[in-house]
Symmetry: C2
């Protein structure tokens, strides 16, 4: 998002609610600069972001959210680019949220955007955005979830969320999508091998990329063997909203040439159709959608509580309590219970 | 921790408080099997863990907590092994908490332990433990923080927390230590290069490992240049408890041979001495220690609230609200505010 584009965005009022209403309406009408500004507001957690999400959220729920994760070097970005081309060839719209690993703390997630946006600068039906969560626990899930809610409400058919598969938060973000794709490449190092086992647990589809390299078929066979040995995902009662437990398919792609990518898109569509066609008896939402709702609500709850602890009348008490914990005069459980009681009194009053 | 060891641990009572008191007393007295069981309780978030932490926490605060992070392949485990040897040669005790990247979701963090423990099986002054946080947001910081509190209270001089440098939670865990070491290796790939910039922001010390490889000196020079160009960490008012802002030193080690490791330990000691010698005017705890206290208390607060939402009288209301969010009938902010009001009434009643 160059500054020149932001400067050309429609003029907006000073009051957050008015600004949010204007930006949301513009974004829904197809204004990509307004959309970009909304996503910036979400990253910065401004009042405009909250007001816009409150308005937009109820109109969403139709997009197919696909998480793509895997170890560094598996070719996630190349595969995402190949998927975009395939989805566009099919006449559908696609948004990408790339959780950039370059700066987990302050997030300088810019470079990838610029490079990748250029190819689709003239295509309004492709939208690519890197996101970085700024230094608070759970920030990644919360920011990414909110961004996806906006992209969903704005009408994108497919939303790809790309994350690196070596962080707890990053894997959680990808695994809470409707469909989770775990990407591997042939013959990666030992440390990467170790990562695989953990990632397979969250996969709905496994893709061996760089299929033109020697060893791709062998890697795919190894992965199929690991999946047969592993417990079937979905057997847990908590996954009740999911379709019948099923071992993930293993596909081979060569993202750089596009080979196998049409088959991947078909597999994504099949997985989604399975989710839609097989609801639980009472038509409950899928486990993935409940988990996303839960994560979003929990993150907001945590923010609300943090807000209350930062301002009067609780701020002084909270600061003194945290200092006592840092000096080991009070244990963190006693501190948490003390603050919780104070918060309860404050909310109820 | 083999099962045979667990079986040899002292018999404990059935009531969590009694068990916690017995395990905590045994761990403080030097019983490593009791310590291992306490850490398992922490991973599993049992009532024994909370009771033990309440007892042990106030006796801690003396250990030097060192975070070691870096991209996959930089040689973190080898450097940790070399540091252990150096610390032991100096007659000090050391505990290692390795946040294992192999399973971010369910945590199969076992293999590394077995291999690494063997070398120190007979040395009671070395304790090595892999930790994995089980599927809840903020779980990694909370579990690792609690584990470090126990290791601190039990009397280890130095606690090394080793995490992979490509995940938000993982980097946060390492960067909330008293001293954060960012490890790099010469001439890694492009994606790893991109990770560097983000990690440098959290470094108190930068180490180029695999110093015997061609390009180590050049990599160190590049890193020094990047650090000169970057804003000085600690200039932020939030870092008020830290000593005078200072650019991190860049050291070169060859962990496999031990070269440069004595200098690294000396640098860690110097950094710690700087933290201790330069408190703020009112003797406040350092920013890192306040941040750790804050993270621990926040995680417990979030757990307490989640607990209240899971049981009557709030459970039905919470489930219906989350379903409404999953079905896009209610936005997550409205849902959070509704639940917060219910929680406040519940706590105050």
């Amino acid at each position: 998002m160059g500054e020149d584009r932001v400067a050309r965005a429609p003029a907006v009022g000073a009051d957050p609610l008015t600004r949010a209403t204007e930006l949301a309406a513009a974004a829904v009408a197809g204004d990509r600069h307004a959309l970009a500004r909304l996503l910036t507001a979400i990253e910065n957690r401004t009042p405009v972001a909250e007001a816009a999400l409150r308005q937009l959220y109820p109109t969403g729920g139709r997009a197919h959210l696909v998480g793509i994760t895997g170890p560094p070097g598996a070719g996630k970005s190349t595969l995402v680019a190949a998927l975009i081309a395939e989805v566009r060839a099919a006449g559908r719209t696609v948004a990408v949220v790339a959780v950039d690993p370059s700066s987990p703390i302050t997030g300088g997630a810019i470079l990838g955007d610029r490079v990748r946006m250029q190819a689709y600068a003239a295509d309004r039906d492709v939208f690519i955005r890197s996101m970085a969560a700024r230094g608070h626990a759970g920030g990644l899930a919360s920011t990414t979830g909110a961004a996806c809610s906006v992209l969903d409400a704005v009408g994108f058919d497919l939303i790809l969320v790309e994350t690196v598969g070596t962080g707890q938060s990053e894997v959680e973000v990808a695994s809470s999508a409707d469909t989770t794709v775990v990407l591997e490449a042939p013959e990666m190092g030992d440390e990467v091998q170790a990562i695989k086992a953990g990632l397979l647990e969250v996969a709905d589809l496994v893709v061996v990329n760089k299929g033109d390299r020697p060893g791709a078929q062998r890697t795919a066979a190894q992965l199929r063997a690991m999946l047969v040995a592993a417990p079937v995902v979905g057997a847990d009662p908590a996954d009740a909203g999911r379709p019948r437990p099923k071992r993930p398919d293993v596909l081979i792609t060569t993202a750089a040439t596009g080979e196998g990518v049409p088959e991947l898109l078909a597999a994504l569509d099949r997985h989604r159709a399975g989710l839609t066609r097989a609801p639980t008896e009472d038509g409950a939402p899928t486990a993935a959608r409940l988990a996303r709702a839960d994560a979003q609500v929990r993150a907001i709850l945590a923010d609300r509580i943090a807000d209350r602890l930062r301002v009067a009348p609780l701020a002084d008490d909270a600061a003194a309590t945290l200092r006592a914990v840092a000096e080991h005069r009070v244990d963190p459980f006693t501190a948490a219970d003390r603050l919780l009681a104070a918060i309860g009194r404050e909310i109820a009053s």
